[in-house]
């Protein structure tokens, strides 16, 4: 058996209703799940290939009612002890269960890792090696792309700053160990305690923001496109039922993209309002237009807004040309005014679903909402699950970083020698590095030499 650490991941799509399966695989999967599961029997005592009913609990608080499928090695996909947890409480509960598993000692699976294990343990035929390799490399590339895309500039900066602080403290300790006649560590532990407490506070803030979804951009990426003054911002406001975008009747009011998370009938959407697309000489507006066009690639669904009170023009044609291969719902907006375009005409012309809509009378809103949920449940539109996987891996790294920093505090409390601090500090440093995708390098040695004057 190649691997022995235990991995976990959500095995089902993240958006479909409340049911989801979490898969756990590895030597310790049974004991890890047992530590958060209350059923009639301990899983360790149950027969393989049985289903157990019970509850996932956290500090005696019931998190979810679950069914557990137990597959003992070697009779599983990975040939390792594998457990599938069938949860019923929706996306948030899935996440909670996953984080409990991580706390109990599992880690989030790497992209393609279940398959990789299955392969390495001889479960998959050698002839499929090529496709397994491609799966691993393409998934990890996607995950990397996602993690970079998701990390907003400010978040990235927080992590970079935090790592730099950790590295500096470690470099100081190590300099003192390397050159003890030069750097003195007397009273340093108390100083470090304050600094580490501050670091833990920052990591906690990050964990909170991950959990509350302010950073996670999960859900179906839904782009609102249209020429200026077609009513895109009104649509965003209507869907989110609040004044998120500034709406005027001056064309070109939205110059940047706006984003909003909403849920329609249990489906979560990440709605992006864009600048109206037209030929323009205004530099600021042009940036907005380009940004809107750039977003098309990443969109899972596009709501194309046409002003039905005006005839189609070259701007409308330009847009439809760009999105013809995507999943699109065309909205004939301003149905409350006198219309110059008919549903039938557009439907025939573009072969996309068309809905008459008015953000004034709310005509068509229900139709739009049910169309979106239909498309989702019929599988026509899907959100990018790797986003969620990336997110949960990053959240896992934060938790690990926090634990390592807490270990430093423990070591200080227990009056451990200073060289023990740097072991946990470097662990925290590396966990945070995984979030930003840093690879291991000679950072510490470089920091020691650049910050501290060494050598006799």
């Amino acid at each position: 058996m190649y691997h022995s650490d235990t991995i976990c991941a959500i095995a089902t799509s993240m958006n479909s209703s409340g049911i989801g399966i979490i898969r756990v695989s590895g030597e310790e999967s049974i004991s890890i799940v047992d530590s958060i599961f209350r059923g009639k029997n301990k899983l360790a005592d149950c027969d393989t290939h049985t289903i157990q009913y019970g509850h996932i609990v956290s500090n005696d608080e019931v998190i979810d009612e679950v069914l557990i499928m137990l597959m003992k090695a070697p009779r599983s996909y990975t040939t390792e002890d594998t457990i599938e947890i069938d949860c019923h409480g929706g996306v948030l509960i899935l996440k909670k269960v996953l984080s409990l598993l991580i706390e109990a000692g599992a880690r989030i699976a790497e992209p393609g890792e279940f398959t990789k294990r299955a392969f390495l343990n001889g479960r998959i035929d050698l002839s499929e090696a090529e496709s397994v390799m491609d799966l691993i490399s393409s998934n990890s590339e996607l995950a990397m792309k996602n993690s970079i895309k998701q990390l907003s500039g400010s978040l990235n900066k927080i992590i970079v700053d935090l790592r730099d602080k950790i590295l500096y403290e470690t470099a100081f300790i190590e300099s003192a160990l390397d050159d003890p006649e030069h750097y003195d560590l007397t009273d340093y532990p108390e100083e470090l305690r304050d600094k580490v407490n501050d670091m833990i506070g920052r990591v906690d803030d990050l964990i909170d923001s991950f959990n509350s979804g302010h950073i996670l951009k999960e859900g179906i990426n839904t782009l609102i496109l249209g020429k200026p003054n077609a009513g895109k911002s009104s649509l965003l406001n209507t869907l989110s039922r609040r004044e998120r975008a500034i709406v005027t009747d001056i064309p070109g009011t939205t110059r940047d993209t706006l984003e909003e998370q909403i849920t329609i009938n249990g489906v979560s959407l990440n709605i992006i309002d864009t600048a109206g697309i037209r030929e323009t000489d205004d530099i600021v507006e042009k940036i907005g237009v380009d940004k809107a066009l750039d977003s098309i690639d990443d969109a899972d669904l596009i709501l194309f807004v046409i002003d039905s009170s005006r005839p189609l023009d070259e701007n409308d044609e330009f847009i439809i040309d760009k999105i013809i291969d995507k999943k699109v719902i065309i909205l004939l907006n301003k149905s409350d005014l006198e219309t110059k375009i008919s549903e039938e005409e557009i439907c025939n012309k573009y072969n996309k679903p068309v809905i008459s809509f008015s953000s004034v009378s709310l005509d068509g809103l229900k139709t739009l909402e049910s169309k979106i949920t239909d498309m989702f449940f019929s599988g026509q539109v899907k959100s990018d699950d790797t986003l969620y996987i990336t997110n949960s891996r990053q959240a896992g790294c934060l938790t690990n970083a926090k634990n390592s920093l807490s270990n430093v505090l423990n070591s200080i409390d227990n009056m451990m020698p200073e060289d023990f601090f740097s072991i946990d500090l470097m662990d925290a440093y590396n966990f945070l590095g995984e979030i930003t995708g840093e690879t291991i390098d000679d950072d510490l040695a470089n920091k020691i030499f650049s910050e501290f004057c060494m050598g006799k």
Binding site: L126, A129, M133, G455, K456
Partner: protein, 626 residues
Amino acid sequence: MSHVEESYDVVVIGAGHAGCEAALASARMGLNTICFTVSMDSVAMMPCNPNIGGSSKGHLVRELDALGGQMGINIDHTFIQSKMLNSSKGPAVHSLRAQADKAAYSQRMRKTMQDTENLTLRQAEVTELIIEDRKVAGVKTLSGATYHCKAVVICTGTYLRARCLYGDVIEHNGPNGLKAANHLTDSLLANNVEMNRFKTGTPARIDSNSIDYSKMEIQLGDNPVVPFSFSTKREDVQIEQVPCYLTYTNEKTHEIIRANLDRSPMYSGVIEGTGPRYCPSIEDKVVRFADKNRHQLFVEPEGLNTNEMYIGGMSSSMPEDVQYAMYRTVPGLENCKIVRNAYAIEYDCINATQLKASLEFKDIDGLFAAGQFNGSSGYEEAAAQGLVAGINAALKLLEKEPMILDRSNSYIGVLIDDLVTKETKEPYRMMTSRAEYRLLLRQDNADLRLSKIGYHVGLLSKERYDHVVEKERQIEEEVARVKEINVGARKEVQALLESYGSIPLSNGIKLVDLIRRPELDYDKLAPIDPERPELSDEVREEVNIYIKYEGYLTRQAKQVEQFKKLESKVIPQNIDYEDVSSLRLEARQKLTKLRPANIGQASRISGVSPADISVLLVYLETYKGY
């Protein structure tokens, strides 16, 4: 014209710290060995600082000793002061450092070499490698003599095309005015070896009689002294020690340096080699750490039979007149007489990624390399590599598997892995932070970690091996015994705890839990542990460390298990990475260049991502079929 022609099993080029260990190991393992030196007066010479050991370097010496090397024994006989550094810190970073009597150290090593069976020590400059079909066949010397052999270990230190510089003076010689080796580089280049050029430097030596020690802080050695070698008896090293002194530079010193920077070859661009950042010249310190208004200087004797004092912390390549001016600003050195100038030295070395972990060239069969030639710095780093290269040259001729030390069993393993895996851009120095499993790799347990290996390769004696086996048994027994012991809240127990400021017991407790209290240890609790057997200092130390830090030790042991899994995944050397299309381009190029021996090593190559490693693992599965 007739030429000398001789045959040996192993030729060692150079008799510095690497060369001596390589030659001794090879000869002691029964191979007919010849070791060349440019001067019989420079065997095991210490051209820079007069110390053996120090942080992490002390670990290297202990490990080398545990394997059967000479450095530890040699320094135990020739030291004039000794200290255990970091003794107030954790056991993993305790490090022994001794001041050596340089001349005595060199002479004793030379005599040991000369008295070793199967070993010939010869003064001559090797100018050419004889390589046939990418296989070593012998060497030639400047006189035209040919020495046939089956393996060569190159340990040329800083001598290859060496030049020494200070101010505008350039001398084309090796350290201490010794002859440089100007020919061998051409022979290496002709055999497609990739060369680098590195730089290092040394401070001035000053006449002790011209120093006013009353203006300096005296620094004394430890009492009692702990020996380096596991074979040295503690009572044999309790000698009378010589003091060292501490003083500081000041703003005046720094002003002189700043005013003359343009006259330093480092800053005028004359020096082309890359210098070490961890051992900067005083010019470098003043420029790079401009906010520091003083730097520490250590004034250390070079030996008992010379008045030369080494000025640690003030290496330089300034012109002679500036050297006088700057040293004379230092308290105690106002009237100092310089005996030898400070200088920088440049030399040829290799990119060590051309080597396997056995220190044999990947592309040239039977050619080994060690020491500063491999891009490292320091006597201890050199000696450790020399020992490994010498052992492996011998094992190869004995048709045995090479001895590969890894990151989980030794600092030597970390050192070699770093050298052969990472492209070192400056002279490489050992540091404890480079060892990720350093809690396990302590100087106190080097014998427990490595003596079995030293014995099995045929270098360490049966007697020393048996001693380690017995020590191991005693430690295990005692740890097991102590773990079973419960301590009640008896009067004598409470009194003992109180005497150490430890909280008294409210009810019974395990003895191990008391040992783990920060203010207590194994030895302090002896009075309340009446069944305790009589054990040596070394055994008691191990028992204490093992119990006190068990949690951390177990954690690292688990990490080592993971590490070993990756190290055991061997990558066939004929693999064509171009066939593995899912690897990213950068990874494919790096892997092709470095040809790592196993998955673990591959994962440490910069530019190879975890996904690349996964891809490689899958590819290797299919490879088995062929």
